[in-house]
């Protein structure tokens, strides 16, 4: 599978980030976040998401590529499959992975977002990197749409609701957000079209 590419803002520039399925080695790297960024929610969530991924892998319920996921679904239409997506950027030399998203494909072919974490303190040229979280969410909507999923949903908390409200353009978000296919397609299309226009403008 080709990585999904979206752009983030780093040091006043628009820079590409690749989103891919994590392999076992990738999950191990993500697990190490806790040591590198101790006492942060992102560090704890990364370690727990990795733990969950290993547990599901022992049960044979994870996928490390889109092709593998498609193959599992072909074999069993009601399969529950977990996968971890990691965002990386070659230009961010200090950190291999910038962010992660732990997702599940449910038995009825819906996508559930369980963990979303951006590595804390990400900087480039001494300035914060922003747009990784919204980029992942938009890429996920595109992925769900391409897989023919009718719904994407997730649980929201007091701290995450405002983020989902902003990116998903749903107001208000309480403890659950649900996005139907038409909306997923529309938001992902608009997000990537906007990025394309911004890139074209920057290249002029």
């Amino acid at each position: 599978m080709k990585p999904i590419i979206f752009h983030v803002e780093a040091a006043g520039e628009f820079r590409p980030v690749e989103l891919t399925f994590a392999s076992e080695a990738g999950v191990r790297r993500v697990r190490a976040w806790r040591k590198m960024t101790p006492a942060t929610d992102a560090g704890e969530f990364a370690a727990l998401a990795a733990k969950r991924w290993f547990y599901y892998t022992r049960e044979g319920a994870t996928a490390v590529s889109l092709d593998e996921m498609r193959a599992v679904i072909r074999r069993n239409k009601r399969a529950e499959i977990a996968f971890l997506l990691v965002a990386s950027a070659g230009w961010a030399k200090r950190s291999k992975f910038l962010a992660l998203a732990y997702c599940r494909r449910t038995w009825c072919h819906h996508l559930v977002l369980d963990f979303l974490a951006v590595r804390p303190g990400l900087t480039f040229a001494g300035q914060p990197i922003s747009g990784v979280g919204s980029g992942i969410l938009s890429a996920l909507m595109g992925l769900a749409d391409s897989l023919g999923m009718e719904t994407m949903w997730g649980e929201a908390t007091a701290s995450s609701a405002s983020f989902y409200e902003k990116v998903l353009k749903i107001r208000p978000v309480h403890d659950l957000f649900i996005i139907r296919r038409a909306m997923m397609r529309d938001l992902a299309r608009r997000y990537f079209a906007r990025q394309k226009r911004r890139l074209a403008r920057a290249g002029e």
């Binding site: 992102a42 733990k51 649980e155 983020f163």
Partner: protein
């Protein structure tokens, strides 16, 4: 004995009027300003500049913590005796 007529005839005994009658304008919520795609993207980026993005579904978090606890319980404890060190004799009661 005839029961007393509890309904006063000739009087409107329907539901009482609302005490706190609110104007419709007070009920309406302020209209959301429709953002252009450019503004929407800028807002998302601005949000991420000022907030940590670390979110977990409470259910997923609970499950992951249970898995972690199970793993910890299953892992064999390292004891000094397993590393070839003779176990320390118990202190005798005096």
């Amino acid at each position: 004995m005839i029961s007393p007529d509890v309904i006063l005839r000739g009087r409107n005994v329907g539901l009482p009027g609302r005490v706190n009658k609110a104007n419709f304008s007070l009920v309406k919520t302020p209209a959301q300003k429709k953002l252009t795609d450019e503004e929407w993207l800028r807002e998302c980026f601005e949000y991420e500049r000022t907030h940590e993005i670390a979110f977990a579904s409470p259910k997923a978090l609970l499950e992951a913590r249970m898995i972690a606890a199970m793993d910890k319980a299953r892992r064999p404890r390292r004891r000094a005796g397993r590393n070839g060190v003779a176990p320390r004799p118990k202190a005798a009661a005096r």
